[in-house]
């Protein structure tokens, strides 16, 4: 077999053409370094979010108020671990190992979604996270199923399918609780009050302040702007809130006939900045939990490696 040297310009042109045709880039294809870096950063952040995201809901598995809900919640949190796995695997196709990414998470050099730095204070939060947080995540992620990098897009297809199942389950929990006692209805409303604004922030800062977005969109790594997705989420959620019988805590929220969209208030971007900076209510706790699990498991991973080596040597 002979290999023909290819000019860099030709490689770049081929890459651009693939993007332009909305075809997928695959691991063996040439790609620009910046594209690779952007992808790794985005997929890793997504993977980390799935893993950290196990904590706020996981805290309620032990206290789930019915066995059916316990099973649903346990399965959901397990799915999140599974999503983490797919995404770390997708990252590995770009030559970055799970161990390296874990290190980057644990040392704070890579981030995870800021939504998971908010506490879960009642069982209604399990429903609200499903409805609003998973709902927002889906809005963000559905376009990524068509993202230009093949393994990422394929992982997202599977993830989105499961996420929308989780979203329906969350909404159904809230529906059931709203048909329950007054105390339960209050619990739902209180939970929605706490999670509404943080959910809107999940789409990131306003487009004007989002420096990396333009290039990501050009590369087909990202396919819609933050503000577009945020608007879509609000429009989708308002009728669901009405059906549920809860009030969304935004006095400026109303239908704008002219725009054909809902107007809504401005999220507190300083709060988002604070949470991203590490000053959210649970940042320290989430990281400490993850670090402790990692450190407590070190001896097990070492034992497994030692055993595998010995078995291989035989």
């Amino acid at each position: 077999m002979t290999t023909t040297p290819v000019e860099p310009e030709a490689l770049e042109a081929a890459f651009e053409a693939t993007i332009a045709r909305h075809d997928r880039i695959e691991p063996r294809d040439w790609m620009p370094d910046a594209y690779r870096r952007t992808l790794v950063r985005q997929m890793a952040q997504h993977a980390h979010s799935e893993i950290i995201g196990m904590q706020p809901e996981g805290a309620w598995i032990g206290r789930a108020p019915s066995l059916r809900r316990k099973a649903i919640l346990l399965a959901k949190v397990q799915d999140e671990a599974g999503h983490g796995l797919y995404l770390y695997s997708a990252c590995e196709t770009l030559g970055v190992s799970r161990a390296e990414l874990t290190e980057l998470l644990l040392t704070g050099r890579q981030k995870y979604s800021s939504i998971f730095n908010y506490p879960t204070l009642s069982y209604a939060d399990v429903g609200t996270i499903g409805w609003l947080v998973d709902g927002a995540a889906i809005c963000n992620q559905v376009p990524l199923c068509r993202t230009s990098y093949g393994p990422y897009g394929r992982a997202m297809i599977r993830i989105c399918k499961e996420e929308s199942f989780h979203q329906r389950q969350g909404y159904e929990l809230l529906m059931t609780m709203m048909r329950g006692t007054d105390a339960q209805r209050e619990m739902v409303q209180e939970s929605v009050n706490r999670f509404w604004w943080p959910s809107l922030m999940m789409f990131g800062p306003p487009d004007a302040d989002s420096p990396n977005s333009a290039r990501s969109m050009a590369w087909g790594v990202k396919r819609n702007s933050n503000d577009e997705l945020r608007q879509k989420f609000v429009d989708m959620t308002v009728p669901q809130a009405e059906a549920l019988g809860v009030t969304l805590p935004d006095p400026e929220l109303r239908w704008n006939e002219e725009r054909g969209h809902h107007d809504f208030g401005e999220p507190d971007w300083e709060e988002l900045a604070a949470v991203i900076r590490g000053d959210g209510p649970c940042n320290a706790q989430r990281m400490a939990h993850r670090r402790a699990a990692h450190e407590d498991g070190a001896w097990v991973r070492e034992a497994a490696s030692a055993f595998a080596e010995r078995a291989g040597a035989r």
């Binding site: 032990g62 206290r63 671990a81 699990a293 498991g297 055993f307």
Partner: protein, 267 residues
């Protein structure tokens, strides 16, 4: 039917309490694969618990705790969330506090070897429901046993530290093993008849791993059982009689807190 209910409660409580302890591992395992595996086993056991508690309630509605008039709480939840510690019939092996990863491996090994032997026989139970639960359960618990056996071997032959931790866990949990095979008369397969089979499987795991089987005291030394069991019937007894370790009440306090705060709640 009272005997059937008692039998289902016993097996259902074992599964429920094991599931609760396993699920405490969620987001805490040594790696993602094991996190998923542990959650999966917790889910399997939770599923078994639900079917068995529902069967117990159907066989003898008298076992279900009374709830406020018009409460929408289903029987399985009334049993899980509205009984107190002394009404639970699970073995104490299921309830003791979680330790390290070696501890969960040993607990699962001892538990699933015995449960698998029992479920295999229960597949031909005259009670159709129980037979169906057993048939499904055999597949699930086979996986649990294999997982635990594989990790038992890995830890035994891994590093010095893993070996030491495995042996510590085995020493701590072994005294609770006998309770899994304590005689049970009335309905169903008597766990005491499974001892031979269970011993063969465990001895094989020990042999392959090069781990010594923990000492059963010589027969004359009957005091070896965790709370004695010689001469006079002790007030304590075993988990099957509702005599539990101090670990069960805090486990239930957590498990039941939300359900009890809303006895008329819908979930």
């Amino acid at each position: 039917p009272a005997e059937l209910a008692a039998y289902c409660l016993m097996l259902g409580d074992d599964a429920l309490i094991m599931s609760q302890r396993l699920s405490e591992w969620c987001s805490r395992a040594p790696d993602l694969e094991e996190d998923i595996a542990l959650a999966n086993m917790a889910l399997d056991l939770l599923g078994q618990a639900r079917l068995l508690l529902a069967r117990a309630a159907a066989a003898d509605p008298g076992v279900v705790p009374a709830l406020p008039e018009g409460s929408p709480v289903p029987a399985e939840d009334a049993l899980a969330f509205f009984r107190d510690a002394e009404q639970f019939r699970n073995v104490r092996l299921a309830e003791v506090e979680n330790g390290d990863f070696a501890h969960v491996v040993v607990r699962l090994l001892l538990f699933s070897v015995a449960r698998l032997a029992l479920l295999e026989r229960l597949r031909t139970s005259p009670d159709q429901v129980l037979a169906a639960v057993a048939a499904k359960g055999v597949k699930e618990i086979t996986y649990h046993r294999d997982w635990a056996g594989r990790w038992f071997l890995t830890l035994a032959q891994g590093t010095e530290e893993s070996r030491r931790r495995l042996e510590t866990a085995l020493e701590a949990l072994w005294p609770y093993q006998a309770e899994l095979l304590a005689p049970h008369t009335g309905f169903g397969v008597d766990p005491a008849t499974l001892r031979g089979e269970v011993d063969v499987v465990l001895d094989q795991v020990f042999a392959v791993s090069g781990v010594e089987r923990p000492g059963d005291a010589p027969p004359s030394d009957a005091g070896r059982e965790p709370i004695g069991g010689t001469g006079r019937e002790l007030p304590g007894g075993t988990g099957r009689d509702g005599a539990h370790t101090a670990a069960l009440a805090p486990l239930l306090a957590e498990m039941q807190v939300v359900a009890r705060a809303h006895p008329s709640g819908r979930w």
